[in-house]
Symmetry: C2
Subunit: 333 residues, 2 copies
């Protein structure tokens, strides 16, 4: 009866009720809808529809993506496409939080998985907008950082300590004592954990706490903050920037705005190791988050969870390391 009403074969109807069987998505939806209206196995049909995978992975990103996020999205999209999955971006507001309208929008896509940051949307607020997906949280773990409340969700933990310890040791080895911290966007957990870790590492070496130049992860703000730091606030021996783009702004302020040499007069260290950090004009010494390893870890988390919806919370860990280029050193530039 359903087959006749839908103008399809009985085999197709059978396949429509089996979420594992391959069938043109629209055809399946049409059959299930007709079956529902004819009151045919309504529960099974509803369940099948609800459990049908969308093959969409949501990624919650800031209102404006930095090169780091762009490079991550690019690599993640490629990795997911190879597995037949699409990457769908959801943008936060300027304060990094997610609007209710965006969450409702997110819900309408029936995501298979979603990657989030705690500052944008906590697990308790996100879950009601997910029918099937278990969210994955990216978390930055550092020295002196309070434990986050993400123990019961899938998560990727980036350990800031190894790379930042090496960076501080290198700066100290080159005699830097007055280390300034060029901060990231307020409210970001990446920002908070980097700052707290730097403070802990400097303190452990008996160095004074960092004076803070207020940045927001962008070039322009970092450039101005660096000019202010040196013109109004006594300068520094070294600048530890919250991300690479900020480090570029600091370097350009030092070299082009203040006539200072990097690293001859001031050392600069960044964070991320984006592609541009290897370019000759910057050749930035920076704390690396391995982009390929990060994307692989995220894909593993997604595939494990979609394969085992009822598994206990999953966790991947990723260390940082220091990439030494030409912005920390004793000699002339």
């Amino acid at each position: 009866m359903v087959a006749e009403a839908a103008g399809v074969s009985r085999v197709a109807v059978s396949r429509a009720f089996n979420p594992e069987a391959s069938l043109d998505a629209e055809k399946r939806a049409r059959i299930l809808e007709i079956a529902r209206r004819m009151n045919y196995a309504p529960d099974r049909a509803a369940r099948a529809l609800k459990m049908r995978r969308s093959h969409l992975v949501g990624v919650i990103v800031p209102d404006v993506c930095s090169p780091w996020e762009s490079q991550e999205i690019d690599a993640l999209t490629t990795a997911l496409q190879e597995r037949g999955l699409g990457t769908l971006l959801f943008k936060t507001r300027a304060d990094l939080t997610l609007a209710d309208a965006t969450l409702r929008n997110l819900r309408s896509f029936n995501l298979d998985s979603v990657i989030a940051f705690a500052e944008s949307v906590g697990p308790d607020r996100l879950r009601p907008y997910l029918d099937r997906a278990v969210p994955i949280y990216v978390d930055y773990l550092g020295a002196g950082t309070p434990a986050t409340a993400l123990a019961d969700v899938d998560r990727l933990e980036i350990d800031l300590v190894p790379g930042m310890t090496q960076a501080v040791a290198l700066l100290a080895g080159h005699g830097a004592r007055r280390v300034a911290y060029l901060s990231g966007r307020p409210g970001s957990q990446a920002e908070r954990s980097r700052r707290a870790t730097l403070e802990a590492l400097l303190s452990a070496r008996g160095l004074p706490p960092p004076r803070v130049a207020a940045g927001d992860f962008t070039y322009a703000t970092a450039r101005q903050a660096t000019l202010d730091l040196f013109r109004l606030d006594g300068g520094a021996d070294a600048i530890f920037a919250a991300n690479d783009e900020s480090a570029f702004g600091a370097m350009d302020a030092l070299r082009h705005g203040l006539g200072l040499a990097v690293p001859g007069d001031v050392h600069v260290v960044g964070f991320d190791d984006i592609a541009q950090s290897g370019w000759d004009s910057y050749a930035l010494t920076t704390v690396k988050i391995d982009l390929a390893a990060r994307v692989q870890a995220l894909v593993r988390l997604i595939l494990r969870r979609t394969g085992q919806p009822e598994a206990p919370p999953l966790r991947e860990a990723l260390p940082t390391s220091l990439v030494v280029r030409n912005t920390v050193g004793g000699g002339a530039p």
Copy 2:
């Protein structure tokens, strides 16, 4: 079932549920009444499902996105999200063409719209994978470029001539005669049209044709090609790079690899005006494609088409312009 009860064909039942289809009024009323009594509206359900919008816009992008593409995707995603639409990326292979598997994947998402380049997938190949969407093609129009075969599809036409004419005039005004072209990725229409336009503009000024340094839109290849151009191939007065990232590679090769001044010894012009081109270390004079205007034009095309599925081919045009910074000039750097 309804057809049997009403004593009509299944086609007649289908027509009865489609207000646009012609059917004897009395017959239609009888069928609808029987269907009502049987609590059965299959065609409406089917039509509603088929016409249900996915709210997904596909964008076909290269296997690895340059900063230009990343910045465009970022702005486009923000603009579409405000309208409840999601941006779904589809990656080409390394040769910029689209794999069949990717097209099948694309089809499964039932896109509302899709933005493509002719080199990746032509309209005839793409259409069978689109149920409802009308593709939008981005086309680069230049001097000396053969007309593309995109007259009958929705398209955004970027006019290279105004910006490149100003760039060549500026170079000629500063006395450049030997202009080299640092090329983009082979097979790209952006590459072909930029090269042909430069050749036409130089020829119109009586300047020799450009010698070509073989790039691929990336920093690393551009850097090496520039070293080779100057070490093995006689150098040039000016380099016109196919995109900004290539211009940065050329500048770093000139300054850091060859000890030459930009613009003191060699002028450099880029193409795109990405965010990094305004950074002090490069301060690149470049042909600008207005990113905000481009995204607005794409969004207009998408909304017009989804609002009027049967409209004739739509077209948006966008000029280029020259942004003058510090890489073309007579003085010392």
